[in-house]
Amino acid sequence: MALTSTTNDATQIIKVHCDRIDAAMAIQFKENMRGEAEGGAPRVVLDLTNVEFIDSSGLGAIVASMKQLGSDRRLDLAGLQPFVEKVFRLTRMDTVFKLYPTLDDALSAATD
């Protein structure tokens, strides 16, 4: 599960270089997210542009990643393909995360 990270001002962007986040890679994803995000900016944007498929284990791993950040930092999601967005919507996780259609949308959005 390859992740790369860049930081702009107060936002850390973590990009997923994999076409699926499923049960076979959920644990690895969670561990790599912990490593990438450690000590980073208060706002983390997870760029999911490359992700075509996510299942409930992958969804759980993203929720766990947000919890790992603690209450002082936040995790926003960008670049959701329609199917990935549908999984968030069905499970009502679209009410928990801020979802942006593209990374640019996420970066230009007010960060509160």
Partner: protein
């Protein structure tokens, strides 16, 4: 009796084989004419059902084969998933009720989405245990939902 187009696949019930197997059968179904709007729904319901086999039916057992048999008709798809693992608890299909989201970060559920998604995305679910085998049937009707 109408049989539709048949697609069969079996693989060892491990996470990596299941991940590849779901990707493969989804591709084959699309190539056989599974309508695009349902391709994503079918893929996730299959992934969740097969994850359950890998993680629960074969929990504590040596993984054996899981068999997928698809019959694709013009307006519906039947999928039969068979395994020789442990039966579903109480021989019942779990309700699949979404856990409450809670009001704080630490209360957010990290799981329990699987059966909920299967119920949401299928038209009918049937389960049967016979001769030491689990037989889970999922039906997808290709009708527009509002």
């Amino acid at each position: 009796m109408q049989t539709g187009k048949c697609l069969d696949l079996s693989f060892l019930a491990t996470q990596s084989k299941a991940s590849a197997g779901v990707a493969r059968i989804s591709q084959d179904l699309e190539a056989q004419g599974l309508p695009a709007p349902w391709a994503g729904d079918v893929k996730i319901a299959l992934a969740e059902a097969i994850n359950n086999v890998v993680e629960h039916a074969y929990a504590g057992l040596t993984p054996a084969e899981v068999e997928i048999r698809c019959q694709l008709h013009k307006t519906w798809l039947d999928v039969l998933i068979t395994d020789t693992g442990n039966p579903l608890p109480g021989l019942c299909i779990p309700d699949g009720i979404l856990a409450p989201l809670g009001s704080t970060l630490s209360e957010l559920p990290e799981g329990g989405f699987g059966w909920f998604l299967i119920h949401e995305l299928t038209s009918e679910i049937r389960y049967e245990r016979s001769n030491g085998r689990n037989r889970l049937s999922l039906r997808f009707d290709f009708v527009q939902t509002v």
